[in-house]
Amino acid sequence: MLNFAVVGQSLRMALQNIRSNRMRSFLTMLGIIIGVGAVIGLVTIVQAVSGELMGEFSDLGAGTISVQTYASAMKYGLSDKDMEVLANVEGVEGLSPTVSLTTTSVVGKEVYEETNVEGKNTLYFQHNSDIILSGRAFNEQDMSGDAYVCIVDQSYVKHALLGKQVLGGQILLHGYRYTIVGIYKKSDNMMSMMMDDSTLAGTILVPYKNALTMTGNGVVNSLEVYVEDSADMTKVEERLRATMKNLYNENDDFFSVYNFSSLMDMVDSATSMMSGLLGGIASISLLVGGIGIMNMMLVSVSERTKEIGLRKALGATPGRIQAQFMIESIVLSMVGGFIGIVLGESIAMIAAKLMDTKFVFSVGAIMLGFGFSAAVGIIFGWMPAKRASELNPIDALRAE
């Protein structure tokens, strides 16, 4: 029977033997080190990139459905009445229209030709409560259409308001004097950065009815639909599409309805597939490493025939001999696996730094690395250990 003392002794013997053949043990472990390192490194990098991408999409609107309209001769955009119809669709919590335009802003005597202005409603701020850095968001009173309040982004503060009063300060937009009530943090996701125009002074948020007045056409071309927590996103998306089709006289060429959740699912499944594929390719080197371990163990059994013969003559059971060599193989493989994990995590950390993504310390990847290396040790150590256990003690002692 194997007990702790026997396992302990086998462990000690394994470590002693590995130490006494340092170079050979290291070269044998190299396959496992590279294999585990590659699996951990690649899986961690893909997970980090995937996380980053998911974060981007989440920022863009997880739990929301985006509705875009394109101007046509029949219908220029969505009116207040249309939006009321959409807001009443089953499962819809509310709408947040986005009205965008580029216009001129004036601060004191300074004129900023290119200023981005976006119209938002109160619901937008309820769902993006963390974007206000200082001051306040819009409230219901601001939505009447005759409240001239605005919220500026950090970029506008940097370009136009440096050294000036920000909160309570005033900006002239379209002939009206707007009071700054807040500063907000513009999303720093990749999409926003791609769309960022360096010629713009910044972005100013105004109540959406004020923005509609500025555009002069009174219709909305883009809106985000917030879905109730209990509602099924796909079903709500289908209902919205049907309603939009109805509003557009059964013509679906001039609008689009996007569900960000399904997009995120697609990205998630694509990155999972990529992770599996890369992990699979990397695990080929683990197989090669395993063969290396089996080779080393076979050589070890052959070299230590007399030791095996002696131990069997002294009464060691085949099980104990097998356990000794199995433990040695597992130790060899797991030491390699540990170094591989350190190597893989280091690669992932360097890659995260180079790609400017967040390094994710994945416990799952580490468990995977240890699991892989232990499995390699057991699978590839079994045959040599079995061979050792079956040696005849007298023949083994007499072997040359």
């Binding site: 003392a5 026997v6 302990g8 002794q9 013997m13 002693q16 033997n17 130490r19 006494s20 007399k306 030791e307 013969g309 002696l310 131990r311 069997k312 003559a313 002294l314 009464g315 060691a316 059971t317 085949p318 003690p393 007298i394 002692l397």
Partner: protein, 229 residues
């Protein structure tokens, strides 16, 4: 202790001309004493020792060890018997090269605790191995020291029988004399069987058995009384 009846060992059973290593003889061995088994190469002396120590199973005959039939034992029972009641010394020391002297003694120990380690150190000291040599690997020890470590390994579990197969063959005369002296001491409390082809080391034996072509005869009287201890 041993009661051997018509023991027979045939090699090459499948061949037409069978090779008899042991040709069917009876033998009784006591509980203690130093017994020498002498004979030329291929006379069957090592085969006899392997059969008595359960490392080989005779083709025919019976071996009773303290009334227990060894030829019927299972592999597990034989392993257990060797581990608990038998000690082995071989022609070569067969020390594990990557282990220290003490660790080599501990290889045979049934318990791996600190008490056993202390016991191993005490035995080594008794056998003339100095403390500073305890941690040395076999490559750093002399031939005589290695063989003494091997003797320590054989007695660590207080065996009832020590089987020594050509224990002095790889030693010089002085070391051979010392090893036999140690074995003689151990034989006061247990049975020590020494297989050799060198008659000169058997002068202290209580009994000498001579083997020739698979047969055995008591040759104790061949050594003059004055040469025996």
């Amino acid at each position: 202790m041993f009661d051997v009846k018509q023991i027979c060992m045939i090699y090459d059973m499948e061949k037409e001309e069978k090779l008899y290593a042991l040709k069917g003889f009876d033998l009784q061995l006591p509980d203690r004493g130093l017994i020498g088994i002498i004979g030329p190469s291929a006379s069957g002396k090592s085969t006899l020792m392997y059969c008595l120590s359960t490392l080989k199973i005779p083709t025919e005959g019976s071996i009773l060890y303290n009334g227990r039939e060894l030829t019927n034992c299972t592999n597990v029972e034989r392993d257990d018997l060797r581990r608990r009641e038998f000690g082995f010394i071989f022609q070569k020391h067969y020390l594990v090269p990557y282990m220290s002297a003490v660790e080599n003694v501990m290889v045979a120990a049934n318990e791996k605790d600190k008490t056993m380690r202390k016991k191993a150190e005490e035995i080594l000291t008794k056998l003339g191995i100095r403390e500073r040599e305890f941690s040395k690997k076999p490559a750093k020890l002399s031939g005589g020291q290695c063989q003494r470590v091997a003797i320590a390994r054989a007695v660590i579990n207080d065996p009832k029988v020590i089987f020594a197969d050509e224990p002095t063959a790889s030693l010089d005369h002085e070391n051979a004399y010392n090893v036999m002296k140690i074995l003689k001491e151990y034989s006061l409390e247990r049975l020590v069987l020494v297989v050799t082809h060198d008659k000169s080391i058997l002068k202290d034996c209580d009994r000498i058995l001579e083997m020739w072509d698979g047969e055995i005869r008591d040759a104790s009287s061949d050594i003059p009384e004055k040469e025996r201890g």
